[in-house]
Amino acid sequence: MDILVIHLFNALLYASVLFLIAGGLSLIYGVMRIVNLAHGNLYAFGAYVTAWVVGQALAGAHPVILYLLLPAGAFAAALLGAILEPTLLRPFYRRAEEYQLLVTFGLLMILEDLMRFFWGPYPLTATSLFEKMGSLKIGESVYPRYNLLVISIGVLAAGFLWAFVYKTRFGVVLRATSQDMRRASAMGVNVNRVYIQAFTIGCFMAGLGGAIVVPGQSAVLGMGVDALVLAFVVVVVGGLGSLEGALVGALIVGIVREFGVSVFPEVELAVLYLIAVVVLLVRPAGLFGRTA
């Protein structure tokens, strides 16, 4: 029984991180109609920054300070996003989607190496955050408390995001732009500003995903590329541009993967992609997507 609970936690853990990555990807697409292939690298960037900052502060810092440093990666990723959008992406909005994919693919290659340049070839860890929290007893088993923190952050982020998009003035502007950029623009919305804000929030989410994942695992090269395809699965299942979809998609992927590792390890990965294909066939716009 306790093992079942732990399986569930594992699934939620995986889903939380995936939701942050995929939610950011989806938000950006929803507002800007851009699929950012370098999105996974922003997740990796968040992981590296948090690991690095925590590592720098580790000597003698109070544990509370260390936990406060956790979101550093998210803010760094947001900042990077705020720089990238106006410089690299803006010139492409008027051009065909193919060019956007290509330029973000180039960005992916550049960011991958920049991280290697700044943080070296080795994995970067911040395990002290993971270890200091210890474990929680669940029946006969124990479970890392830190993982529960990650799940809570995932849930909180989902809540905040929902409130932000649906309950604030800015959310209204965001949704208006997403539904019809031209009309929003005609009604006085500064589209450029909305774009940079949306892109920054999306990057913040990816960075947050990386930041909370790094204490339990570590920041390694290539983690962004691997994460991106899974995020794709999530947004394809949930519907590109839909936050609810990203949430449900992340839960589905998290549960299927956890189940897969235990029960059908050979096809665990293939099943994830097949789910995406089936959803696309049955509901091309995804479970929660609007048909364009």
Binding site: N10, Y14, P123, F130, E131, P144, Q217, V220, R257, S262
Partner: protein, 456 residues
Amino acid sequence: MPGPVTRRDLLAQLGVTAAATFGASAAGIGFAGVARAQEKPKGTIPDKPFRIGHMTFFTGPGAVLGEPMHKGNLLAADEINAQGGLLGKRKIEVLKADEAAGTDANVKEMRRLKLSEKIDMFMGITSSGNTPALGPAAEELKLLTIFIDGCTDFLFDKAVPNPRYVFRVTNIQSADGSTCALAVAQTWPDVKKVAHIHPDYAYGRNCYDHFSIVSKKLIPRAQNVSEAWPKLFSTDFTSHITKTLAAKPDLLVTSVWGGDYISFYKQALQHGLFDKMKVATTLALGTAPHAIGKDHPEGVLAGVHANYHFSYPPGNRWPLNKTFVEKYKAKFNEYPNFQAEGAYTATHILRTAVEKANKLTGGWPDDDAIISQIEGMMIAGPGGYVYIRPDNHQGYKDAITGFSKNVPEYPFPILDPARIITIPIRNITAPPGWPKGEPTSTYTWIDQTWPTVKQA
């Protein structure tokens, strides 16, 4: 075959010894790394640098194994260059290449190094997924090669069954799983339920196979209750750990290595895995020694790839090891791992072969002359004697494993000096002439020639 054998008999027959005594006559055997008065080489030697292409993991989670390999190569090259180079003339130049580029890219890069950079020799390789691709490529290029690791049996069983240019210095891979299983049989003979977590590629499969066949012979009652195959270089083992815990095994066998192992043990600690079962590893202490923290539990069967740990042979019992560790520490401010030892020994194998060949032929010996000297060479390295078998070009040295222990002298765990386990290599690897088998020759050899013990 005579009547039933007990486990104790079989372990004794196989020479599995705890805290082994050490000592042998070294007459007529070359010494790696000891500065000797340089004999004057015969004939004229060109002073063109000798270029070694060294490919290993310089990036990613594999780098905790790869970097020490490169450093071992550099240390030996420095020693040789300090005496003027090979035969006192040809300084060794080491060109780096990153194994993390992927198997296909590695094949291309090896070709580039030989055909475009004109390297004289190729060294390195960590992953056993790469040697079966690069071995044939090296033979095609007629490129003198000593693989340091990438030790899959498959290389000389199948991929290059009749090697000419390709050698390998660290122990063959089957020895790793077998050593682990023998150590388990000796230490924890009562285990009944065994779980496995192995990286999903050649090495993990090989460890699983050889652990299984040896345990079938020595602990026949042990049953396999769970298998998990995480991707190589993954950092998230949460689901695999949960799967293992759910099966409630007595023993977990794992061959996860490098940065992966570090992530694994940190996560396993928080899941209380080490409290619930015994853990046997093949490569826990095989990474750069400082990579593992003191939070790593003690008493874990901590493999060193059945090759070498810098703390053994201890003290000055085997002076070669003492000087090697001291020099390595002085140069790189860290302790060597088995890869460093392998690359260091391999470089001195090259030096020894070149010197011997020069004595015979004069001038700079051609590859054929060097190869014929490496074939059958027995050389003393820091970890002990290494024998390069002439038929399959594979290096053999006695296997070693032990248990993790924290001692005040080091800021990381080492092998418990009181509980080192050594096994004569010939007792756990298929002999020359044994037919090639599936999955490996050693597997069929164990299966067909070892008795199954009578379990009391």
